[in-house]
Each structure stands twice: as structure tokens, then as C-alpha cells.
């Protein structure tokens, strides 16, 4: 197990305005394939990545939000969402595509502190 590290992916950007959310997911999947300990954090505008009901036909972009639902199949099950970020955007857990653990900003900070590798896009 000496080759297992704790990777946390900190998602702070909205989807579609930039590609970071999509390309971050690609790294998450590969990291899981390497049997690493993977956590995802969604804070700031990153919580919008998990918003239900994304319909991208009119912007002619690919709707990649179903990939978050598929993460479980890759054993990526630790998804943490910032309570303050949801509140500032009038979102609740019911608005999200997938089950998540909601944490306070301070709890999220402590969680990130406990990781070996922090990737933020």
C-alpha cells in the first residue's frame, strides 16, 4: 500500500464557461484507475458542476454532467461539497446530480489539509 496516496481534486469553477471541469474529470478517472485514494471537493462555483438539469444542445457543447453519476462505478465515492458555496447560490443537496457529503468551509479546509496531493484546475 506504500504506493497509494491521497489525491484531492479541488473544483472551484463553473462548467462550460471554461474546460477545467471537464478535463479535471478526465484526471479523476485516471487517478482512480491507478488505485489511488481519490476525493473530490466542490467549492465556490465548482458546486455548479453538480447541478441537475444541464441542457447543452443550444450551446452545442457536450453535456458531461452524467459522468459525475458514473464516478461510483470507478470507486470514486468521496464527493465533498461546501455548505457556504451552496447557500450563496441558493442551491440545496436536492439540486445536485449525485449524493454528496456537505461540509462547512472549515471542515473542507481540514479535509484538504489531510491530503498528499492537491490538484486544482
Amino acid at each position: 500500500m506504500s504506493n497509494v496516496k491521497k489525491f484531492v481534486f479541488v473544483n472551484r469553477k463553473a462548467p462550460y464557461g471554461t474546460i477545467y471541469a471537464l478535463e479535471a474529470l478526465e484526471v479523476v478517472l485516471i487517478t482512480a484507475a491507478f488505485d489511488q485514494d481519490v476525493s473530490l471537493v466542490f467549492m465556490d462555483d465548482g458546486v455548479y458542476q453538480l447541478k441537475r438539469g444541464q441542457q447543452t444542445q443550444a450551446i452545442e457543447n457536450k453535456n458531461f454532467s452524467p459522468v459525475y453519476r458514473a464516478l461510483e462505478g470507478y470507486d470514486v465515492e468521496k464527493l465533498y461539497v461546501e455548505r457556504e458555496a451552496l447557500a450563496a447560490r441558493a442551491l440545496t443537496e436536492d439540486d445536485l446530480l449525485v449524493p454528496v457529503t456537505v461540509l462547512s468551509s472549515a471542515e473542507l479546509g481540514a479535509l484538504i489539509d489531510s491530503q498528499d496531493v492537491v490538484l486544482s484546475f
Binding site: R12, K13, A14, P15, Y16, G17, T18, D44, D45, Y48, K51, R52, G53, Q54, Q55, T56, Q57, A58, I59, N61, N63, S65, A88, R89, A90
Partner: protein, 98 residues
């Protein structure tokens, strides 16, 4: 003047800079800026205040992509790309707050 904002109001200062500077005209929210015009959002109050000075529009394709088309605040007019073009045509100039 048509003010075009494409940045999230909680990530960047573009919307605030526009509201601080511009006296009036129209504001069109596109891309990540559309979140500003969603009900209950921390920036929604700024948009509601702005409605006294500006006509405010939000781009429907961007609202839909982000799953928030059903949350548009009252007083903000949804437009599609055709409406975007018309807004540009109706105003003598546009200012993209990049």
C-alpha cells in the same frame, strides 16, 4: 451602450466594475455570468438593484446549459442568440467586460 458580462459574479469583479462605472443602458449576461440572474443567488440583489438603471437580459442557451433556466429572476429578459444579435444592433456600441 450594451454591456456584455461573461464572468461569474462570485469569481470575478467584472459585473461589479460595470455596475460601479456605467450609468445606464442595457446589460446582457452570457456564459458564466448568467448565474448572477438566478433567484436567491448572492449577486441577485445587485441585479435587482441594477434593474432601476439598466434593461437586463440573460442568454437562454447559457442558462439552459447550466441547468438554471427555471430560476431567472423577475425583470430579467431571457434572449437567445438571435436576441443577442438584436441587442447589439439596437445599441450604438457594445462593451464586453472581459
Amino acid at each position: 451602450m450594451l454591456h456584455i458580462i461573461n464572468k461569474s459574479p462570485l469569481e470575478r469583479s467584472a459585473l461589479d466594475s460595470c455596475l460601479r462605472t456605467a450609468g445606464g443602458g442595457a446589460i446582457l449576461l452570457i456564459e458564466d455570468a448568467v448565474y448572477a440572474a438566478t433567484r436567491g443567488h448572492a449577486a441577485a440583489a445587485r441585479i435587482e438593484e441594477a434593474l432601476a438603471r439598466f434593461a437586463v437580459y440573460a442568454l437562454t442557451p447559457d442558462l439552459a446549459a447550466r441547468g438554471v433556466a427555471d430560476r431567472l429572476i423577475d425583470g430579467v429578459t431571457p434572449v437567445d442568440y438571435g436576441g443577442f444579435v438584436e441587442l447589439v444592433a439596437e445599441h450604438p456600441a457594445s462593451h464586453s467586460w472581459l
